[in-house]
Subunit: 256 residues, 2 copies
């Protein structure tokens, strides 16, 4: 391949995979993309929310801008996932449409993907609808625009990994939640079920998921207690675990 030493017709964009949880199923925020639709384009009916990066903003602020547009909030959990850089991932008609939409003339787009997690509520669902977006069950997502199906699958695998190492579940849950709800969420993310008794034991032994005084009401069975995630206790625990797992040999002396 001949290297074309022309470095200034590239654009960077961000795409967000925004997950929410309605108490039963894992949802992802998708944007209807009429504005891109055209013959010859591979763009489907839905896409992930995203944007080109303005010249004086960093990636994080672009993500915040897009989130604000679609869910009306600024302070939400977000993490960088991956970079998609195939020069041909957006080309032909798709590229022309993007250039037209943003009024630019770039020859390729490199996309940095983000994962966001939000505490879904009914207001956000209607807010999204008003702004051309929609919360859709991850299991029933069909064909998306461009390579957004690939990105979604990567994101799902990513949060399944993360779930086992970081307390991301509580970004998706309301402040107060039952153990059962937490378990349902974990099962939705992981794609398989847990033993309810061992799950409960593990959660309670964690030390940072603490009971409240509240119980469920109007349920036709023993009402479940609500719990809360205590971030400060978690961070203290995390430090302790770090020290344990990175323990030196008893007699290993000073050095680096």
């Amino acid at each position: 391949m001949q290297i074309i030493y022309q470095y200034d017709k590239q654009a960077i964009s961000i795409d967000c995979v925004v997950f929410g949880f309605d108490g039963a199923a894992l949802k992802v925020l998708l944007v209807r993309c009429k504005r891109f639709s055209s013959e010859g384009s591979s763009i489907g009916n839905y896409k992930l929310p995203g944007s080109l990066i303005a010249n004086n903003e960093n990636l994080d602020s672009a993500v915040i801008r897009v989130m604000e547009e679609h869910i009306g909030m600024r302070s939400i959990y977000m993490r960088q996932m991956d970079v998609f850089s195939d020069p041909k991932r957006i080309d032909g008609e798709d590229l022309k449409l993007v250039n037209k939409h943003y009024n630019v003339d770039v020859s390729r787009i490199i996309t940095v993907t983000y994962i966001s997690l939000v505490k879904l509520n009914s207001q956000m669902i209607s807010y999204a609808l008003k702004n051309g977006a929609e919360w859709i069950d991850v299991d029933s997502v069909k064909r998306l625009a461009l390579d957004h199906n690939d990105i979604l699958i990567k994101a799902l695998n990513h949060i399944a990994q993360q779930l086992q190492q970081e307390p991301i579940a509580f970004e998706l849950l309301p402040k107060r939640f039952t153990i059962k709800t937490l378990r349902t969420l974990c099962e939705a993310i992981m794609g398989f079920e847990f033993d309810s008794r061992n799950f409960r034991k593990k959660i309670l032994s964690s030390g940072y998921i603490i009971p409240t005084e509240e119980k469920e009401v109007n349920v036709s069975h023993k009402p479940a207690l609500f719990y809360m995630f205590d971030k400060k206790l978690y961070e203290r625990e995390a430090k302790r675990r770090f020290k344990l797992s990175l323990r030196r040999l008893p007699c290993a002396g000073g050095g680096a």
Copy 2:
């Protein structure tokens, strides 16, 4: 902050943190950067190898191009790490120098960082020297250009994490190695020591690190056996572990 909707004066670059192991210490490949040196620039004496992305190459091929330049090889381990996107991370004099060097006119540079792992040998060390680069002990790295110290620290933490989940150690070792060498490498990456007996037990029980017929020679103690990493066995093991850790409940039935 006012959003400047001008999307086409951005450039993307890659920077590589290339690690090597000489049997005793962890080394990183640094490039002397006389060509960038200038008054007013924050650029130090050394920088990580990197390059702007040409318009028709993807990030991976840019990394391969840079690797070829500095170590004379194409097929090496490399993984994307992170994206640095602060609009001010390269500005002022530094930005002017970069624009001049690449003969472009961009207003900001977004950098995707990569980690590479190589099986270091004496040829590569002299090859690097001939091409303006140098293999330096990670512990004795001083001030680097731009924000490259931050990138290096992130990379070190990154491989320490990775080491506990993926067989990256064998990308840094020769085909045949002793358990002791492997342990020294792990200690260099993790920054603390292991119990030699438990370490050996764990390595041998892995099932994919297999003995050869060869022993050390000319050592004034019991010669150590050389071992090899069997990638196929590892992948079989990895699949098995995946099944185990993602096991459903015995009676959990069909569903997703």
